[in-house]
């Protein structure tokens, strides 16, 4: 029994009266401590899968268990609590809040926690130091390079010590070198025990991951056939 179990997940979107089938019959099991890459062409359903894994996009059919919790049977507010406890997100386009400094961005998920301001500061500082940004905590996102912004986004995802990190194209907007730096951070975090799923376009990134899930037209393509060097 894996940490994350998806059974027969399908997702239909309704847009302008027409149905878009984003995912079809997805079966997936991810063990604790895995570092997984999710790959596939644009529009294949990678982000949809990630938001379903992220407990914020109810599938049309199917069931998802994380840590034996049937996530989509929780109420909307319970699912928010669940995300807070179990999940850290690194979003496509990073999604830092432009008017908050690096440390404030990292503290954001703690605003609803019981931690005192002092503790929040310490936790955020630790997270930023963990990604090697201890010296730029007071900067606004616009005063950081793309790679540094990526690291702030990762710090925000790990600040609350969730067991699972979900990342959508974290290296999408970075050059090769900084992209590799960011992937290295994910690898390090994984070695510390975090379960990490990364959506990526870049086959190079699979060098850092243990497993690759390929998606095409909303279906998981079995390994072996597409596994490349």
């Amino acid at each position: 029994m894996g940490l994350i179990e998806l059974y027969d997940i399908s997702k239909l979107y309704q847009s302008d009266g027409t149905e878009v089938r984003a995912l079809t019959d997805v079966e997936l099991s991810i063990d604790e401590g895995e570092l997984v890459a999710i790959m596939g062409p644009s529009g294949s359903g990678k982000s949809t899968l990630l938001t379903i894994l992220g407990a914020m996009n109810p599938p049309t059919t199917g069931q998802m268990l994380i840590d034996d919790i049937d996530v989509y049977r929780l109420s909307v507010e319970q699912r928010a609590d669940f995300r807070h406890e179990y999940l850290g997100f690194v979003f496509q386009q990073l999604q830092l809040i432009p008017y908050l400094t690096a440390i404030e961005n990292v503290m954001l998920p703690l605003a609803i926690s019981k931690h005192s301001n002092k503790e929040q500061q310490l936790m955020a500082t630790a997270a930023l130091e963990r990604v090697g940004l201890g010296d730029k905590m007071k900067r606004l996102p616009s005063q950081l390079s793309g790679g540094e912004q990526g690291r702030v986004a990762i710090a925000r995802a790990i600040v609350n010590h969730p067991p699972i990190i979900l990342a959508d194209e974290p290296t999408g907007s970075l050059d090769t070198h900084t992209g590799e730096e960011v992937m290295q951070i994910f690898k390090d975090l994984n070695e510390e025990g975090l379960t990490i799923l990364i959506v990526t376009h870049n086959p190079e990134n699979t060098r850092y991951t243990q497993r690759t899930i390929n998606i095409r037209d909303g279906r998981i393509v079995r390994k072996g056939a597409t596994k490349c060097a």
Binding site: G54, N57, H84, F91, Q92, Q95, A111, N160
Partner: protein, 383 residues
């Protein structure tokens, strides 16, 4: 970092828009505060004066030809048609008056006299009672104290060039003028007041009375009128609509008007908050998506939005109250036509803040709901 810090942060970032919203609320709240303070002061003023002066009831003989109102007696018809009241009528009036707490009973005899070549209206009065019945009278000089002294209305004083300290000859008798009434725009302006007994003598009607004016507390006026009517079947008993009562009516109208304006201002306030917060929420879709994704509950998001509106409306309420109070302090008394300045009221201040917060919450409720219901997956989709 707390939810409230996120709100403050956003307020700082949207300084100019939020400042504009505060200005809107300040204008609205200060308008309401001014209207309420001024109308309240006017109401209190009228109520206080009505209590102090009481209301007056006029007892006059019935007449077929003309309606008698105080002072509105034309000399000719008075002498032809009217049966005067008698001394025992006065005794009965006094008995009823005592029962209803009358503060003064002022008998009068009205009649025409000659002043040189001109005619004038002479009113014989029981002076102490008359002054009690008309406490708002303002006299230049002093009131007459004996049968040889008279007091004039402002117009009469001008017409006969009689000033305090001067002399006036009425039907051949010389009187000392001791006082002149300030012009009131009423019938008193054109009459000459003299001692009752002396007037009865000049007019050749010993112990006759034309009118008796009774002052009594406003609350007991109806029963007083009822009893006087039954005791004096031959007389007309009518409430005198005093200047105060017509003022009370005007204040009442003004209060309704102020209420209507306040309601409009409230609605405009709510709509202003609504549109401002709504546009803020749509600008913040992405950010709210991040909040929700990282585990903020819908209620957390709603709290952030509502708290921003709360802060803005508290500031608007306090500043609006201050501005409204300053305005009323400076101009209120003049606008309300009362003599004392209208000071700030802490109760009104507390109410103003509560009302402002209610405006803020009413306006922010829908935007907060919209924000809370934003789908995080949707908000974070890059399009």
């Amino acid at each position: 970092m707390r939810l409230t810090d996120i709100s403050f942060n956003d307020l700082r970032r949207r300084k100019s828009k939020m400042a504009l919203l505060v200005v809107g609320l300040v204008i609205g709240v200060s308008t309401i505060v001014s209207l309420v303070s001024i109308t309240q002061a006017m109401q209190a003023d009228v109520r206080e004066k009505l209590d102090r002066f009481g209301s007056n009831v006029v007892v006059a003989p019935k007449s077929d030809a003309i309606t008698l109102s105080y002072g509105g007696v034309s000399v000719a018809s008075a002498s032809v048609n009217i049966k005067d009241l008698k001394a025992d009528d006065l005794t009965r009036i006094e008995a009823v008056g005592a029962k209803y707490g009358a503060t003064s009973i002022a008998p009068k005899l009205v009649g025409g006299v000659r002043v040189g070549d001109a005619k004038a209206l002479l009113v014989g009065v029981d002076l102490p009672a008359e002054l009690r019945a008309n406490r708002w009278w303002e006299i230049t000089g002093r009131e007459p104290k004996g049968p040889g002294e008279v007091m004039l209305g402002a117009l009469a004083s001008r017409k006969f060039s009689a000033m305090p300290g001067g002399k006036l000859t009425l039907s051949g008798l010389e009187f000392a003028v001791t006082g002149v009434l300030r012009e009131m725009g009423s019938q008193e302006d054109s009459v000459i007041f003299a001692d009752l007994a002396r007037a009865q003598q000049i007019l050749g009607k010993p112990s006759a009375l034309t009118i008796v004016e009774v002052s009594a507390p406003s609350s007991r006026l109806d029963s007083l009128i009822g009893e006087l009517t039954s005791v004096l079947p031959d007389a007309n008993v009518t409430a005198l609509s005093s200047a105060m009562e017509s003022r009370q009516q005007r204040v009442g109208q003004l209060t309704s008007f102020a209420l209507a304006v306040s309601i409009v201002v409230l609605v405009v306030g709510v709509v202003t908050v609504l549109t401002t917060m709504m546009s803020a929420v749509s600008e913040r879709r992405r950010e709210i998506g991040i909040f929700r994704a990282t585990g903020f509950r819908k209620t957390h998001v709603a709290i952030i939005i509502l708290f921003e509106a709360f802060v803005v409306s508290v500031i608007g309420g306090i500043a609006g109250w201050l501005l409204g109070s300053l305005f009323t302090l400076a101009l209120g008394a003049r606008l309300a036509q009362i003599s004392t300045a209208i000071g700030p009221s802490p109760v009104l201040g507390a109410t103003a803040i509560v009302v402002s917060v209610l405006i803020g919450m009413a306006g922010a409720a829908y935007p907060a709901l919209r924000a809370a219901n934003l789908d995080p997956a949707d908000a974070l989709r890059f399009t």
